[in-house]
Subunit: 69 residues, 2 copies
C-alpha cells in the first residue's frame, strides 16, 4: 500500500534523512521517500504489519508535524 | 578572540548541530554557537592555534556558504 503524508517543517537534507530514516526502520515500511519541495513523504508499506498512526508518530518524534492525519 | 561568521543555508536544528559540531571539534576553537534567525555562527577561538580560513572550510565542508570571508 502507498500513502503520501504531508509534513510541516522539513527544510533541508538533514530533515529528509531524519524522516526517511525514522520511517524506514519501522517494521512494515518498505520504502519512505521525502520530497522537500512538496513537503511530503511517500511511504510504501504492508498494511498488515503497520498502521498509519505509527508512521505519523515516528515523523512527529523527529520534531515535525503531520498535516493530513 | 571572537568572530561572527555569516553563513547561508542553515535552516534547522540539524544544520545548527552540524555547523557547531564541525567547528567545536577543530583544535583552537573554544566555542561555536549558531544563531539560526540571524544566519550566523559566533566562534571564540585561540588565534595562535587556528586561522579563520580553517573555520570557513569546516563550515563549507558541511554544505553551507560563508558570506563574509
Amino acid at each position: 500500500m502507498e500513502k503520501t503524508i504531508q509534513v510541516e517543517g522539513m527544510t533541508c537534507e538533514h530533515c529528509k534523512s531524519a524522516v526517511e530514516g525514522a520511517l524506514n526502520k519501522l517494521n512494515g515500511v518498505n520504502q519512505a521517500t521525502v520530497d522537500l519541495e512538496q513537503g511530503n513523504v511517500t511511504v510504501t508499506f504492508d498494511e498488515n504489519n503497520i498502521e498509519i498512526e505509527q508512521m505519523n508518530e515516528a515523523i512527529e518524534d523527529q520534531g515535525y508535524d503531520v498535516i493530513n492525519k
